[in-house]
Symmetry: C2
Subunit: 144 residues, 2 copies
Amino acid sequence: MEDRSLELIEQEMTLLARRITAIASDKRFGTLDRSAYLLLNHISFLGPSGVKALAEELRLDISTVSRQTAALEQKGFVIRIPDPRDGRAFTFQLSETGTAALNEDRQARLAQLRALLEEWSEEERSSFGKLLNKFNHTFSKEEG
Amino acid sequence: MEDRSLELIEQEMTLLARRITAIASDKRFGTLDRSAYLLLNHISFLGPSGVKALAEELRLDISTVSRQTAALEQKGFVIRIPDPRDGRAFTFQLSETGTAALNEDRQARLAQLRALLEEWSEEERSSFGKLLNKFNHTFSKEEG
DNA sequence: ATATTTTAATTGTATTATACAACCGGAGTG
DNA sequence: CACTCCGGTTGTATAATACAATTAAAATAT
């Protein structure tokens, strides 16, 4: 295996993580805070989910997700549905408000990304998306 | 522009940021905490730098970097060098201890990444590295 | 030359994201 | 039924971060 590729990936990834976090926290884009967007996004992606599943997917402690979903519920973005088969468990699903807020935020982020990647070739964008996707999947397999 | 690529990039990036942060905070790899690694890494990359330059590069508030560099200095990982041309300014440069700690941590991260990307083709790894690098540069141009 | 403004950095304070540990109550199993 | 396991919440602590106020040096303007 070529070490240079690895080194480059490692280097760039470290920086990227910080930068993504920075723009994701930027209040100019949408109204949702970073953790809210992350969670709503994943509930939308996974479908109605309990805190455990969300925590695993996002590599967060269950207690963290518990608090964050409680906050989302309190703001009316998600609805807590008791699991009929298990008296302890719930799933959260997006409310209409939550769906609307998520979409609005997502559009804002997409617009920003679109501007950023304006000068990239279609081939680069497509390839980048696929590799990011593949990386996240690889990650899930090994770590999850 | 194809919206699907954008959407995929946006989606995966959101998740990726969370996952990278999670593994970067994992104490099993190296001894440096996340912010220490990030900073030492960038000092090593940029050469001796002041808090302002580091803050800009990492999109952090100057006060944050000031505290973090102070902590690094206190631990002996960096040395504070007064700027001879400006009585207010300093640069930080890596000490031997700092260099050693950084390298050790970096090796641990590389080993993990190597395992993760074991089954990828060399072409994929190389392409991923280049695209990440390009993305960070694009970012710097537009945002910085 | 002095006064004003700008700048590099630090420090005070508050917030958010997060983890770990203790706990509660329902589910599954011997 | 007793014991253990599991989903979730709550208490508590810490780390990362931002914004505002401050300090002192440098640059600029009068």
